[in-house]
Amino acid sequence: MDIKALTLYEVLGQVKTVLKNNAPPAWWIVAEIGELKVNYSGHCYLELIEKDDDGISIRAKARATIWSSVFRMLKPYFETTTNATLVAGMKVMLKVSAEFHELYGFSLNITDIEPSFTLGELARQKQEIIRRLKADGVFEMNKGLHLPELPRKIAVISSVTAAGYGDFHDQLTRNPFGYKFYLRLFPAAMQGKEAEASIIEALDSIYRYDDFFDVVVLIRGGGSQSDLNCFNSYWLASHLCQFPLPVLTGIGHEQDETIADLVAHTRLKTPTAVAEFLISRFQLADEKINELSDNLIDAVTEKVSHEKERLSRFTLQLKPAAREMLNDASGQLRLMQSGMAGSVKHLVLRQSTLLTSKAVRLQTQVRENLSQRQHKIRLLEEKCNYLDPFTILKRGYSITYYQGKALKNSIDIASGEPIETRLAEGFIKSKTI
């Protein structure tokens, strides 16, 4: 067999030269960071990928390296512009040149980066997440919660290491006014890939005491400007939105707001700002109490003075009123008196006239009565005389008695009976025949 075979090294060498001669010195490419590692010597090794339209399967992949000399400048440049660190999952625009090495194969050498592209990507991602949260109808939920007037019991999510929590704790517990705060730290990673999961975990453990705590505070030590991106995660934001307690954020960052800031009940710039906010709530409450007690005192003193004034008005009015009443009364009395005197006189007069008239009438009446009586008597006398049997006898009549009784009917008497007949003058004794 007379095939002329080249060695692997030769072939790869040829590929290398073809590439060097034909490939342009460099390209600006857009890719997604699949993996990223920085080794001890400061070189940065990445795996760049490009996903299919479905966003899941990968249709292109290449290794890439940023030599430490470049990376030393590229990293801070990127981070200060985007406030984020290069992490897997991030879309970036890179200036690369193709490298082919017989041993290490094909790789891209990254010599520059365009942060604004990533910024745009990040912003686009943020808008997308916000849209999703709004579509879920949860975006405003935490904001809608009522922040207690007295946020005394505070659940703090912060990293144990960073100074943030310590300062925050001291600022509250040693506040100049002596207000009493109760803090409890629920530690979580506040940076990098693990941040999302560990903050959510902290939220879950706070959730068990949601009827105890008044408010949740999410704070990160000052200074660590980089990598706010972990606070733009949909899952974290969704948890924050639906958390039953109001969330205050103090992630220690000046410029753009993370999604956590947007959905939180109240967004503050730094942990100290959060502490000041809480203290000011107490001051408000304190002032309100003082105001209330002042109002109470005013209202009561006003009411009491009002009553006193009314009382004094009464007493003032009382005297004249009483006097007036007395005058009226005595006036009436006098009136009545004179009236009385008059009426008494009148009455007496009337009575006396009445009496005299009565007396007169009485006399006349008596006289009349007497004369009537005399008249009556005379009549009776006359009648008596007239009816006196003797006068009748005088007119020739006689009364016949039988056994002492006057005889009226002849049949009452048999013959031969003795009868006695009385005449005007004397008797006649006789017998019936």
Binding site: L150, K180, A285, I289, L292, V304
Partner: protein, 69 residues
């Protein structure tokens, strides 16, 4: 209703109510004395909530430590 378990906002609401009653003159002088006393107590309660340590709260925080540990 016993005073101690009132929450801060409930106490404030109660004080407002008494204030309202006084201002609208619903209270006669006798009731006034009673209501003022109540309001005073409520105000004291609010003050304590601002400044004093409450044992129950400390207790719950301790329980959390135990369950966490």
């Amino acid at each position: 209703m016993s005073k101690t378990n009132l929450t801060y906002s409930e106490a404030i609401a109660a004080i407002d109510e008494i204030m309202h009653q006084i201002e609208t003159g619903e209270l006669d002088v006798d009731e006034l004395a009673l209501k003022v006393k109540q309001a005073g107590e409520l105000l004291k309660l609010c003050k304590t909530k601002l400044f004093n340590t409450e044992k129950e709260i400390e207790k719950v925080l301790k329980e959390m430590d135990n369950s966490e540990a």
